[in-house]
Amino acid sequence: MKQENNKNENGRQQFDARIHRLGITSTLVVWCFFLLVPAAICVIFGLKIDLAATAKAAAPIMLIFAITGLCEKLSMAPIIGPGAVYLASSTGNIQNMKLPAALNAMKIMECEEGSEKGRVVAILAVAASSFVTTAIVFCGMLFLAPIMAPLLTNPVIAPAFDNLFPALVGPMVIPVVLKNLKVASLPVGLAIVIALVLGSTYSSVQSIVMVVVILISLGVYKAAYKKK
Protein backbone atom coordinates (compact mmCIF):
# COMPACT_ATOMS: atom_id res chain seq x y z
CA MET A 1 0.00 0.00 0.00
CA LYS A 2 2.79 2.38 1.05
CA GLN A 3 4.74 1.40 -2.06
CA GLU A 4 1.70 2.11 -4.22
CA ASN A 5 1.29 5.56 -2.63
CA ASN A 6 4.97 6.34 -3.19
CA LYS A 7 4.64 5.29 -6.83
CA ASN A 8 1.61 7.55 -7.28
CA GLU A 9 3.35 10.47 -5.58
CA ASN A 10 6.45 9.99 -7.77
CA GLY A 11 4.25 9.82 -10.87
CA ARG A 12 2.50 13.01 -9.85
CA GLN A 13 5.75 14.85 -9.21
CA GLN A 14 7.18 13.71 -12.54
CA PHE A 15 4.04 14.80 -14.36
CA ASP A 16 4.00 18.19 -12.62
CA ALA A 17 7.68 18.76 -13.45
CA ARG A 18 7.07 17.80 -17.07
CA ILE A 19 4.04 20.09 -17.37
CA HIS A 20 5.94 23.07 -15.93
CA ARG A 21 8.93 22.42 -18.21
CA LEU A 22 6.62 22.08 -21.18
CA GLY A 23 4.54 25.12 -20.16
CA ILE A 24 7.50 27.46 -19.72
CA THR A 25 9.36 26.29 -22.85
CA SER A 26 6.33 26.26 -25.11
CA THR A 27 5.13 29.68 -23.90
CA LEU A 28 8.54 31.15 -24.77
CA VAL A 29 8.58 29.44 -28.19
CA VAL A 30 5.02 30.53 -28.97
CA TRP A 31 5.91 34.11 -28.05
CA CYS A 32 8.93 34.08 -30.37
CA PHE A 33 6.50 33.33 -33.21
CA PHE A 34 3.99 35.96 -32.05
CA LEU A 35 6.71 38.60 -31.99
CA LEU A 36 8.05 37.35 -35.31
CA VAL A 37 4.86 38.50 -37.09
CA PRO A 38 5.26 42.29 -36.58
CA ALA A 39 9.07 42.02 -36.69
CA ALA A 40 9.17 40.17 -40.01
CA ILE A 41 6.48 42.35 -41.61
CA CYS A 42 8.33 45.53 -40.60
CA VAL A 43 11.61 44.22 -42.04
CA ILE A 44 10.18 42.72 -45.25
CA PHE A 45 8.06 45.77 -46.12
CA GLY A 46 10.64 48.28 -44.81
CA LEU A 47 8.15 49.86 -42.38
CA LYS A 48 9.51 52.68 -40.22
CA ILE A 49 8.25 52.39 -36.66
CA ASP A 50 8.15 55.38 -34.33
CA LEU A 51 9.55 53.52 -31.34
CA ALA A 52 8.72 56.21 -28.77
CA ALA A 53 5.08 56.53 -29.90
CA THR A 54 4.70 52.73 -30.07
CA ALA A 55 6.16 52.24 -26.58
CA LYS A 56 3.98 55.06 -25.22
CA ALA A 57 0.86 53.46 -26.71
CA ALA A 58 1.78 49.91 -25.64
CA ALA A 59 2.80 50.64 -22.02
CA PRO A 60 -0.64 51.33 -20.46
CA ILE A 61 -2.27 48.40 -22.32
CA MET A 62 0.58 46.14 -21.19
CA LEU A 63 0.22 47.23 -17.57
CA ILE A 64 -3.56 46.82 -17.44
CA PHE A 65 -3.48 43.36 -18.99
CA ALA A 66 -0.42 42.26 -16.98
CA ILE A 67 -2.26 42.77 -13.69
CA THR A 68 -5.45 41.20 -15.04
CA GLY A 69 -3.57 38.25 -16.56
CA LEU A 70 -1.54 37.58 -13.43
CA CYS A 71 -4.59 37.64 -11.14
CA GLU A 72 -6.51 35.40 -13.55
CA LYS A 73 -3.72 32.82 -13.62
CA LEU A 74 -3.14 32.82 -9.87
CA SER A 75 -6.87 32.32 -9.24
CA MET A 76 -7.33 29.59 -11.84
CA ALA A 77 -4.17 27.50 -11.39
CA PRO A 78 -5.07 25.84 -8.06
CA ILE A 79 -8.49 24.88 -9.48
CA ILE A 80 -7.93 23.64 -13.03
CA GLY A 81 -4.17 23.11 -12.66
CA PRO A 82 -1.16 24.92 -14.13
CA GLY A 83 -1.08 22.77 -17.30
CA ALA A 84 -4.49 23.98 -18.43
CA VAL A 85 -3.53 27.56 -17.49
CA TYR A 86 -0.29 27.49 -19.53
CA LEU A 87 -2.25 26.28 -22.53
CA ALA A 88 -5.16 28.66 -22.02
CA SER A 89 -2.69 31.53 -21.74
CA SER A 90 -1.45 30.85 -25.30
CA THR A 91 -4.76 29.87 -26.82
CA GLY A 92 -6.82 32.72 -25.32
CA ASN A 93 -10.57 33.09 -24.66
CA ILE A 94 -10.00 31.97 -21.10
CA GLN A 95 -13.04 33.03 -19.11
CA ASN A 96 -15.67 32.57 -21.79
CA MET A 97 -14.45 29.23 -23.10
CA LYS A 98 -11.38 27.50 -21.64
CA LEU A 99 -12.40 27.80 -17.99
CA PRO A 100 -16.00 26.54 -18.52
CA ALA A 101 -14.70 23.75 -20.78
CA ALA A 102 -12.20 22.65 -18.11
CA LEU A 103 -14.78 22.82 -15.30
CA ASN A 104 -17.32 20.93 -17.38
CA ALA A 105 -14.80 18.17 -18.10
CA MET A 106 -13.89 17.91 -14.42
CA LYS A 107 -17.57 17.62 -13.55
CA ILE A 108 -18.21 14.90 -16.14
CA MET A 109 -15.28 12.87 -14.78
CA GLU A 110 -16.30 13.66 -11.18
CA CYS A 111 -12.90 15.16 -10.35
CA GLU A 112 -12.43 17.55 -7.45
CA GLU A 113 -11.00 21.03 -7.97
CA GLY A 114 -7.22 20.95 -7.76
CA SER A 115 -6.97 17.14 -7.75
CA GLU A 116 -4.42 15.49 -10.02
CA LYS A 117 -7.12 13.80 -12.07
CA GLY A 118 -8.88 17.15 -12.41
CA ARG A 119 -5.71 18.83 -13.63
CA VAL A 120 -5.14 16.17 -16.28
CA VAL A 121 -8.72 16.22 -17.53
CA ALA A 122 -8.66 20.06 -17.67
CA ILE A 123 -5.67 19.99 -20.04
CA LEU A 124 -7.56 17.64 -22.39
CA ALA A 125 -10.59 19.92 -22.31
CA VAL A 126 -8.62 23.12 -22.98
CA ALA A 127 -6.70 21.49 -25.84
CA ALA A 128 -9.89 20.11 -27.44
CA SER A 129 -11.58 23.48 -27.06
CA SER A 130 -8.60 25.24 -28.68
CA PHE A 131 -8.71 22.96 -31.73
CA VAL A 132 -12.40 23.71 -32.25
CA THR A 133 -12.05 27.49 -31.87
CA THR A 134 -9.09 27.61 -34.22
CA ALA A 135 -10.99 25.59 -36.83
CA ILE A 136 -14.08 27.81 -36.55
CA VAL A 137 -12.12 31.07 -36.77
CA PHE A 138 -10.16 29.64 -39.71
CA CYS A 139 -13.43 28.89 -41.50
CA GLY A 140 -14.60 32.38 -40.50
CA MET A 141 -11.55 33.90 -42.14
CA LEU A 142 -11.88 31.79 -45.28
CA PHE A 143 -15.60 32.01 -46.03
CA LEU A 144 -17.84 31.75 -42.95
CA ALA A 145 -17.65 35.33 -41.62
CA PRO A 146 -19.68 37.07 -44.38
CA ILE A 147 -22.28 34.27 -44.21
CA MET A 148 -22.53 34.04 -40.42
CA ALA A 149 -22.26 37.70 -39.43
CA PRO A 150 -25.73 38.74 -40.71
CA LEU A 151 -27.21 35.67 -39.03
CA LEU A 152 -25.51 36.29 -35.69
CA THR A 153 -26.45 39.97 -35.69
CA ASN A 154 -30.07 39.29 -36.68
CA PRO A 155 -32.29 41.07 -34.08
CA VAL A 156 -34.08 37.80 -33.20
CA ILE A 157 -30.88 35.77 -32.71
CA ALA A 158 -28.50 38.48 -31.44
CA PRO A 159 -29.81 38.42 -27.80
CA ALA A 160 -28.62 34.79 -27.57
CA PHE A 161 -25.01 35.81 -28.22
CA ASP A 162 -25.30 39.06 -26.24
CA ASN A 163 -26.22 36.91 -23.25
CA LEU A 164 -23.72 34.13 -23.77
CA PHE A 165 -21.91 34.75 -20.50
CA PRO A 166 -25.08 34.86 -18.34
CA ALA A 167 -26.06 31.58 -20.04
CA LEU A 168 -22.69 30.19 -18.90
CA VAL A 169 -23.08 31.58 -15.37
CA GLY A 170 -26.31 29.57 -14.89
CA PRO A 171 -24.91 26.06 -15.34
CA MET A 172 -21.36 26.87 -14.20
CA VAL A 173 -22.08 28.78 -10.99
CA ILE A 174 -25.62 28.41 -9.64
CA PRO A 175 -25.69 24.60 -9.03
CA VAL A 176 -22.26 24.82 -7.31
CA VAL A 177 -23.37 27.72 -5.12
CA LEU A 178 -26.62 26.00 -4.17
CA LYS A 179 -24.74 22.80 -3.31
CA ASN A 180 -22.22 24.67 -1.11
CA LEU A 181 -24.53 27.38 0.15
CA LYS A 182 -22.88 27.76 3.55
CA VAL A 183 -19.33 28.17 2.24
CA ALA A 184 -20.40 30.07 -0.88
CA SER A 185 -22.39 32.73 0.96
CA LEU A 186 -19.31 34.76 1.95
CA PRO A 187 -17.57 34.98 -1.46
CA VAL A 188 -20.86 35.48 -3.31
CA GLY A 189 -22.01 38.17 -0.86
CA LEU A 190 -18.64 39.89 -0.99
CA ALA A 191 -18.48 39.87 -4.79
CA ILE A 192 -22.03 41.21 -5.03
CA VAL A 193 -21.26 44.08 -2.62
CA ILE A 194 -18.08 44.97 -4.55
CA ALA A 195 -19.99 44.80 -7.85
CA LEU A 196 -22.66 47.14 -6.46
CA VAL A 197 -20.03 49.60 -5.19
CA LEU A 198 -17.87 49.58 -8.32
CA GLY A 199 -20.72 49.63 -10.86
CA SER A 200 -19.53 49.74 -14.47
CA THR A 201 -15.83 49.79 -13.50
CA TYR A 202 -16.17 46.26 -12.07
CA SER A 203 -15.45 44.52 -15.37
CA SER A 204 -12.14 46.33 -15.85
CA VAL A 205 -10.85 45.27 -12.42
CA GLN A 206 -12.62 41.91 -12.22
CA SER A 207 -9.44 39.84 -11.96
CA ILE A 208 -8.17 41.98 -9.09
CA VAL A 209 -11.54 41.68 -7.35
CA MET A 210 -11.25 37.90 -7.81
CA VAL A 211 -7.98 37.81 -5.88
CA VAL A 212 -9.39 40.08 -3.15
CA VAL A 213 -12.55 37.95 -2.75
CA ILE A 214 -10.52 34.72 -2.66
CA LEU A 215 -8.00 36.06 -0.11
CA ILE A 216 -10.68 37.46 2.21
CA SER A 217 -12.71 34.23 1.98
CA LEU A 218 -9.63 32.11 2.70
CA GLY A 219 -8.71 34.34 5.64
CA VAL A 220 -12.18 34.24 7.18
CA TYR A 221 -12.62 30.49 6.73
CA LYS A 222 -9.14 29.80 8.08
CA ALA A 223 -9.94 31.81 11.22
CA ALA A 224 -13.26 29.96 11.58
CA TYR A 225 -11.50 26.61 11.07
CA LYS A 226 -8.93 27.39 13.79
CA LYS A 227 -11.72 28.30 16.21
CA LYS A 228 -13.34 24.91 15.65
Binding site: S26, V30, W31, F33, F34, V37, C42, A53, T54, K56, A57, A58, M62, F65, L70, K73, A77, I79, P82, G83, S89, G92, N104, K107, M109, G114, E116, K117, L124, V126, S130, F131, T134, V137, F138, G140, M141, L144, A145, A149, L152, I157, P159, F161, D162, A167, L168, V169, G170, M172, V177, V188, L190, I192, V209, M210, I214, S217, Y221, Y225
Partner: protein
Protein backbone atom coordinates in the same frame (compact mmCIF):
# COMPACT_ATOMS: atom_id res chain seq x y z
CA UNK B 1 -12.21 52.07 -50.78
CA UNK B 2 -9.08 49.97 -50.22
CA UNK B 3 -7.11 51.37 -47.29
CA UNK B 4 -3.52 52.24 -48.06
CA UNK B 5 -1.97 49.76 -45.61
CA UNK B 6 -4.00 46.79 -46.91
CA UNK B 7 -1.25 45.94 -49.40
CA UNK B 8 0.78 44.99 -46.30
CA UNK B 9 -2.04 43.75 -44.04
CA UNK B 10 -3.61 41.42 -46.63
CA UNK B 11 -0.40 40.27 -48.27
CA UNK B 12 0.51 36.58 -48.69
CA UNK B 13 3.59 37.22 -46.50
CA UNK B 14 1.32 38.32 -43.66
CA UNK B 15 -0.86 35.22 -44.19
CA UNK B 16 2.21 32.99 -44.00
CA UNK B 17 3.58 34.46 -40.75
CA UNK B 18 0.17 34.55 -39.04
CA UNK B 19 -0.54 30.98 -40.17
CA UNK B 20 2.83 29.86 -38.83
CA UNK B 21 2.19 31.40 -35.40
CA UNK B 22 -1.22 29.69 -35.20
CA UNK B 23 0.33 26.39 -36.24
CA UNK B 24 2.90 26.64 -33.45
CA UNK B 25 0.12 27.14 -30.88
CA UNK B 26 -1.73 24.11 -32.27
CA UNK B 27 1.45 22.05 -31.92
CA UNK B 28 1.74 23.26 -28.32
CA UNK B 29 -1.87 22.18 -27.68
CA UNK B 30 -1.21 18.79 -29.30
CA UNK B 31 1.87 18.18 -27.11
CA UNK B 32 -0.06 19.10 -23.95
CA UNK B 33 -2.92 16.89 -25.07
CA UNK B 34 -0.64 13.88 -25.63
CA UNK B 35 1.12 14.36 -22.28
CA UNK B 36 -2.18 14.64 -20.40
CA UNK B 37 -3.71 11.68 -22.26
CA UNK B 38 -0.79 9.42 -21.26
CA UNK B 39 -0.97 10.51 -17.63
CA UNK B 40 -4.75 10.06 -17.60
CA UNK B 41 -4.35 6.43 -18.69
CA UNK B 42 -1.71 5.92 -15.97
CA UNK B 43 -4.17 7.32 -13.43
CA UNK B 44 -6.71 4.69 -14.41
CA UNK B 45 -9.00 6.58 -16.78
CA UNK B 46 -10.43 4.52 -19.62
CA UNK B 47 -9.99 5.70 -23.21
CA UNK B 48 -13.76 5.74 -23.53
CA UNK B 49 -14.04 8.22 -20.64
CA UNK B 50 -11.34 10.46 -22.08
CA UNK B 51 -13.14 10.51 -25.42
CA UNK B 52 -16.23 11.71 -23.55
CA UNK B 53 -14.18 14.65 -22.22
CA UNK B 54 -12.89 15.48 -25.69
CA UNK B 55 -16.32 15.20 -27.31
CA UNK B 56 -18.05 17.26 -24.64
CA UNK B 57 -15.38 20.00 -24.64
CA UNK B 58 -15.36 20.20 -28.42
CA UNK B 59 -19.13 20.36 -28.63
CA UNK B 60 -19.36 22.96 -25.88
CA UNK B 61 -16.77 25.18 -27.61
CA UNK B 62 -18.73 25.52 -30.85
CA UNK B 63 -21.34 28.00 -29.59
CA UNK B 64 -18.98 30.40 -27.70
CA UNK B 65 -16.72 30.39 -30.79
CA UNK B 66 -19.43 31.87 -32.99
CA UNK B 67 -19.37 35.42 -31.51
CA UNK B 68 -15.65 35.48 -32.34
CA UNK B 69 -16.74 35.64 -35.97
CA UNK B 70 -18.58 38.90 -35.20
CA UNK B 71 -15.41 40.28 -33.58
CA UNK B 72 -13.52 39.17 -36.67
CA UNK B 73 -15.88 41.20 -38.84
CA UNK B 74 -15.22 44.24 -36.59
CA UNK B 75 -11.45 43.85 -36.53
CA UNK B 76 -10.87 42.75 -40.13
CA UNK B 77 -11.39 46.25 -41.63
CA UNK B 78 -8.83 47.61 -39.16
CA UNK B 79 -6.21 44.89 -38.69
CA UNK B 80 -6.63 43.24 -42.08
CA UNK B 81 -7.72 39.69 -42.86
CA UNK B 82 -4.78 37.79 -41.44
CA UNK B 83 -3.64 39.68 -38.35
CA UNK B 84 -7.26 39.70 -37.08
CA UNK B 85 -7.37 35.95 -37.77
CA UNK B 86 -4.22 35.42 -35.70
CA UNK B 87 -5.33 37.55 -32.77
CA UNK B 88 -8.78 35.95 -32.52
CA UNK B 89 -7.71 32.34 -33.16
CA UNK B 90 -5.16 32.24 -30.36
CA UNK B 91 -3.83 34.26 -27.43
CA UNK B 92 -6.51 36.96 -27.09
CA UNK B 93 -10.22 36.94 -26.64
CA UNK B 94 -12.96 38.61 -28.62
CA UNK B 95 -13.38 41.28 -25.93
CA UNK B 96 -9.65 41.85 -25.32
CA UNK B 97 -8.71 42.21 -28.96
CA UNK B 98 -11.40 44.78 -29.74
CA UNK B 99 -10.55 46.75 -26.60
CA UNK B 100 -6.77 46.59 -27.17
CA UNK B 101 -7.07 47.52 -30.86
CA UNK B 102 -9.31 50.47 -29.95
CA UNK B 103 -6.89 51.65 -27.24
CA UNK B 104 -3.96 51.24 -29.64
CA UNK B 105 -5.65 53.16 -32.46
CA UNK B 106 -6.68 56.07 -30.19
CA UNK B 107 -3.28 56.28 -28.49
CA UNK B 108 -1.66 56.44 -31.93
CA UNK B 109 -3.69 59.58 -32.56
CA UNK B 110 -6.76 58.30 -34.45
CA UNK B 111 -10.36 58.86 -33.44
CA UNK B 112 -11.70 55.29 -33.35
CA UNK B 113 -11.37 51.83 -34.88
CA UNK B 114 -13.89 52.53 -37.63
CA UNK B 115 -12.41 55.82 -38.77
CA UNK B 116 -8.85 54.62 -38.96
CA UNK B 117 -6.92 54.73 -42.22
CA UNK B 118 -3.22 54.61 -41.53
CA UNK B 119 -0.01 54.62 -43.45
CA UNK B 120 1.69 51.19 -43.58
CA UNK B 121 4.20 52.52 -41.00
CA UNK B 122 1.42 53.27 -38.50
CA UNK B 123 -0.07 49.82 -39.19
CA UNK B 124 3.33 48.39 -38.23
CA UNK B 125 3.16 50.31 -34.92
CA UNK B 126 -0.40 49.09 -34.37
CA UNK B 127 0.69 45.46 -34.78
CA UNK B 128 3.43 45.99 -32.19
CA UNK B 129 1.09 47.71 -29.72
CA UNK B 130 -1.57 44.99 -29.94
CA UNK B 131 1.05 42.23 -29.69
CA UNK B 132 3.02 43.76 -26.81
CA UNK B 133 -0.20 44.72 -24.99
CA UNK B 134 -0.73 41.14 -23.88
CA UNK B 135 2.95 40.19 -23.61
CA UNK B 136 3.39 40.67 -19.85
CA UNK B 137 0.03 39.02 -19.18
CA UNK B 138 1.24 35.87 -20.96
CA UNK B 139 4.66 36.04 -19.37
CA UNK B 140 3.05 35.99 -15.93
CA UNK B 141 2.58 32.25 -16.63
CA UNK B 142 6.31 31.95 -15.89
CA UNK B 143 5.46 32.37 -12.20
CA UNK B 144 3.18 29.33 -12.17
CA UNK B 145 5.90 26.79 -11.32
CA UNK B 146 6.89 28.51 -8.06
CA UNK B 147 3.29 29.39 -7.28
CA UNK B 148 2.10 25.81 -7.79
CA UNK B 149 4.78 24.42 -5.45
CA UNK B 150 3.92 27.05 -2.85
CA UNK B 151 0.19 26.26 -3.09
CA UNK B 152 0.79 22.52 -2.84
CA UNK B 153 2.98 22.88 0.26
CA UNK B 154 0.43 25.30 1.74
CA UNK B 155 -2.38 22.79 1.20
CA UNK B 156 -0.29 20.08 2.89
CA UNK B 157 0.86 22.23 5.82
CA UNK B 158 -2.59 23.69 6.53
CA UNK B 159 -3.86 20.28 7.71
CA UNK B 160 -7.61 19.73 7.23
CA UNK B 161 -8.09 23.30 6.07
CA UNK B 162 -5.63 22.63 3.24
CA UNK B 163 -8.11 20.24 1.64
CA UNK B 164 -10.76 22.94 1.31
CA UNK B 165 -8.47 25.68 -0.07
CA UNK B 166 -9.12 24.82 -3.77
CA UNK B 167 -12.84 24.59 -3.02
CA UNK B 168 -12.92 28.06 -1.40
CA UNK B 169 -10.82 29.50 -4.24
CA UNK B 170 -13.21 27.95 -6.75
CA UNK B 171 -16.24 29.47 -5.07
CA UNK B 172 -14.47 32.85 -4.89
CA UNK B 173 -13.76 32.70 -8.59
CA UNK B 174 -17.31 31.69 -9.49
CA UNK B 175 -18.71 34.43 -7.24
CA UNK B 176 -16.56 37.10 -8.89
CA UNK B 177 -17.42 35.99 -12.42
CA UNK B 178 -21.14 35.89 -11.76
CA UNK B 179 -21.63 38.94 -9.48
CA UNK B 180 -22.16 41.60 -12.19
CA UNK B 181 -24.84 39.43 -13.83
CA UNK B 182 -26.53 38.49 -10.55
CA UNK B 183 -27.05 42.17 -9.62
CA UNK B 184 -28.23 43.15 -13.10
CA UNK B 185 -31.85 42.36 -12.18
CA UNK B 186 -33.27 44.98 -14.55
CA UNK B 187 -31.75 43.20 -17.52
CA UNK B 188 -34.56 40.73 -18.19
CA UNK B 189 -32.93 38.77 -21.07
CA UNK B 190 -29.77 38.31 -18.99
CA UNK B 191 -31.73 37.15 -15.92
CA UNK B 192 -33.82 34.82 -18.10
CA UNK B 193 -30.59 33.32 -19.46
CA UNK B 194 -29.22 32.74 -15.95
CA UNK B 195 -32.43 31.31 -14.48
CA UNK B 196 -33.29 29.02 -17.41
CA UNK B 197 -29.74 27.74 -17.93
CA UNK B 198 -29.31 27.09 -14.18
CA UNK B 199 -32.68 25.35 -13.93
CA UNK B 200 -31.86 23.23 -17.00
CA UNK B 201 -28.52 22.23 -15.50
CA UNK B 202 -30.06 21.29 -12.15
CA UNK B 203 -32.77 19.27 -13.92
CA UNK B 204 -30.26 17.55 -16.19
CA UNK B 205 -27.99 16.77 -13.24
CA UNK B 206 -30.92 15.02 -11.61
CA UNK B 207 -31.86 13.09 -14.76
CA UNK B 208 -28.16 12.41 -15.45
CA UNK B 209 -27.91 10.31 -12.29
CA UNK B 210 -30.03 7.67 -14.05
CA UNK B 211 -29.06 8.41 -17.65
CA UNK B 212 -25.30 8.91 -17.50
CA UNK B 213 -24.99 9.69 -21.22
CA UNK B 214 -26.78 13.00 -20.64
CA UNK B 215 -23.97 14.28 -18.38
CA UNK B 216 -21.67 14.79 -21.38
CA UNK B 217 -24.06 17.25 -22.97
CA UNK B 218 -25.83 18.82 -19.98
CA UNK B 219 -23.55 21.87 -19.85
CA UNK B 220 -23.85 22.67 -23.56
CA UNK B 221 -27.60 22.05 -23.61
CA UNK B 222 -28.14 24.23 -20.53
CA UNK B 223 -26.13 27.04 -22.10
CA UNK B 224 -28.18 26.82 -25.30
CA UNK B 225 -31.42 26.76 -23.27
CA UNK B 226 -30.28 29.95 -21.49
CA UNK B 227 -29.41 31.65 -24.77
CA UNK B 228 -32.80 30.69 -26.21
CA UNK B 229 -34.50 32.10 -23.10
CA UNK B 230 -32.71 35.43 -23.69
CA UNK B 231 -34.12 35.51 -27.24
CA UNK B 232 -37.64 34.72 -26.03
CA UNK B 233 -37.45 37.34 -23.26
CA UNK B 234 -36.25 39.98 -25.73
CA UNK B 235 -39.03 39.11 -28.19
CA UNK B 236 -41.69 39.28 -25.45
CA UNK B 237 -40.46 42.71 -24.35
CA UNK B 238 -40.82 44.19 -27.84
Amino acid sequence: MEKMYFSVANSPVMAAFCGLAILVVLVQAAIFFRTAWKRALELGFEKRDLMKVVKSSALFSVVPSLPIIISYMILMPVLGKFFAWLRLSVIGSASYETLAANMAVTSLGFESLGSADFSPDVFGSLMWVVTLGVFLSSMSAMLLKKYDKKMQSLEKSAGGFGNVIPNIMFLGMMATLSAPYLIDVGNIPSMAAIVVSAASMIAMNAVGKKHKALNEFSFSLSMIAGMAAACVATALMR
